[in-house]
């Protein structure tokens, strides 16, 4: 076996292009995921069993089936129905790029919703009661107390979920997208050096994971900044509060 370094060096720019698409997919699907997960998690903690059932079924489906089947369902499955083909959604559902973003977003939303539910349920009861005692309305309490606290609690496990999504995004290559894995596969089809290129792609995934881990350390610090009091004082605080020891 002869290991070929030059083929790696020559193809690094192409792999970088692929990595850029991978990052894009992870970023967009993450945004969709968080936005979808918030209502799902809030419904999921409801006391009414009928309200709870819908997000439960959603989460059960997306966590119980392989991501590959979900992406095929959206990309190939949508074309089975004439009414989808004739609707205004078709220009979007025809594109593998949007299919991947939609599927990954729906998929990761189920996982984030479950994390968020756990976080909401582990907020100390006293904090919610204090918000109610101060006369906050439900939306205000969500915005000021529940969600910021829940994000802080779930941040470490959300970082893991983003890394899982990064790894899941490799499946975009099965619907013809040229993400990092897809790009590696096309390069190999020409050069036939599977070990070199796949391992180079693997190292790039590793570097991206390391960057994501670093990013989430910072985010966690931001959301849980109240825990670093009084060594780091938040900006824009009442000066009277700051002068006190």
């Amino acid at each position: 076996m002869n290991w070929d370094w030059t083929v790696i060096w020559e193809n690094i720019p192409k792999l970088m292009d692929g990595a850029l698409l991978t990052l894009e997919l992870v970023l967009f699907s993450g945004l969709i995921g968080v936005l979808l997960a918030i209502p799902l998690a809030l419904l999921r903690v409801s006391n009414n069993i009928w309200v709870r059932a819908l997000p439960y079924a959603y989460i059960f489906f997306f966590r119980g089936t392989p991501l590959l089947i979900q992406i095929f369902l959206v990309y190939y499955g949508a074309s089975q129905f004439e009414w989808i083909k004739e609707s205004s959604l078709w220009p979007i559902l025809r594109e593998p790029y949007w299919c991947a973003v939609i599927t990954f977003g729906l998929h990761t939303a189920a996982y984030i919703a479950e994390l968020l539910r756990g976080a909401i349920q582990s907020i100390p009861k006293g904090e919610i009661e204090a918000a109610k005692a101060l006369g906050m309305s439900y939306p205000k309490m969500l915005r000021r107390i529940t969600l910021p606290r829940a994000f802080g609690i779930m941040m470490p496990s959300y970082g893991n979920e983003v890394i899982l999504m990064l790894k899941g995004s490799a499946l975009a290559s099965t619907i013809t997208l040229l993400d990092l894995t897809g790009m590696a596969r096309t390069i190999i089809a020409r050069t036939y050096t599977p070990l070199e290129i796949f391992l180079a792609a693997g190292v790039m995934y590793l570097i991206i994971s390391a960057l994501i881990i670093f990013l989430f350390r910072m985010l966690e610090r931001y959301f849980n900044r109240h825990q670093h009091w009084p060594n780091e004082k938040p900006k824009g605080l009442d000066s009277q509060l700051l002068s006190k020891d």
Binding site: M1, I69, S209
Partner: protein, 229 residues
């Protein structure tokens, strides 16, 4: 749901999926135990190998691992075989490549589960075993391992569910498991939605069964800790 006579194809695919998952589980558990033993060992080299294994495999997509093993293994195996004077072409079957890739991935995560379980066993028990004159191997087999199972079971259960879903990736290298059989049926009938939903239902069924099985396994493993009622 009208499966147009392709139902048996999906069932046979589900059977291959199940075989793939169980084989990968068995091999992956061995990898996990070896990895965890390496990570807690006193040898610096072994620890580095264990750390490198988990770092690299957990940072790499499973799909990439499956592809690397399937397409890259021939070159490695032939290089090894030529050292022994065997120069024929060697290729792994999709099933063997799938089991290898999935068990390597499962093993990396299982390593972490086992490692934390190993650390949770009180030190006094090991010392007691040494005081009774047990060898290192005996201590591991009689004292540590039986307890590790109990502590590691919830983590391993989650990993098995992940593994069950990851078997779908092996369809990419042409193994006739559930996902690929569904794709074959789609090729004939041109009804992708119907068949992928049918396959998804089978996966849901398999995961539900596994979850129920894991629940009873956990109850069995913790039977000594339930207390009187």
């Amino acid at each position: 749901m009208d499966l147009q006579g392709f139902g048996h194809l999906l069932i046979s695919g589900a059977w291959v999926t199940l075989q793939l998952a169980l084989c990968s589980l068995a091999v992956g558990l061995i990898f996990g135990l070896l990895g965890a033993s390496a990570k807690v060992s006193s040898s610096k080299v072994l620890r580095a190998i264990g750390n490198g294994y988990t770092l690299f495999v957990r940072g790499m997509p499973e799909l990439l691992l499956v592809l690397t093993i399937f397409f890259g293994s021939s070159a490695v195996l032939m290089a090894i075989a030529s050292q022994f004077g065997y120069d024929e072409y060697i290729e792994l079957s999709p099933f063997v490549a799938g089991v290898t890739a999935l068990s390597i991935a499962f093993g990396a995560y299982a390593t972490e589960v086992f490692r934390s379980a190993l650390q949770e066993i009180p030190k006094g028990q090991k010392e007691a075993a040494v005081a009774l004159g047990m060898t290192k191997y005996q201590t591991f087999k009689r004292v540590t391992l039986p307890q590790v199972w109990r502590i590691a079971l919830p983590g391993l259960g989650n990993l098995f569910l992940v593994l069950l879903k990851d078997t779908a990736l092996v369809s990419v290298i042409g193994l006739n498991e559930l996902m690929r059989q569904a794709a074959v049926a789609v090729g004939y009938t041109k009804e992708p939605f119907t068949f992928y939903v049918a396959a998804a239902c089978i996966y849901l069924f398999l995961t539900s069964i596994s979850m129920a099985g894991l629940y009873y396994l956990e109850r069995f493993a913790n039977r000594g800790y339930q207390g009187a009622r």
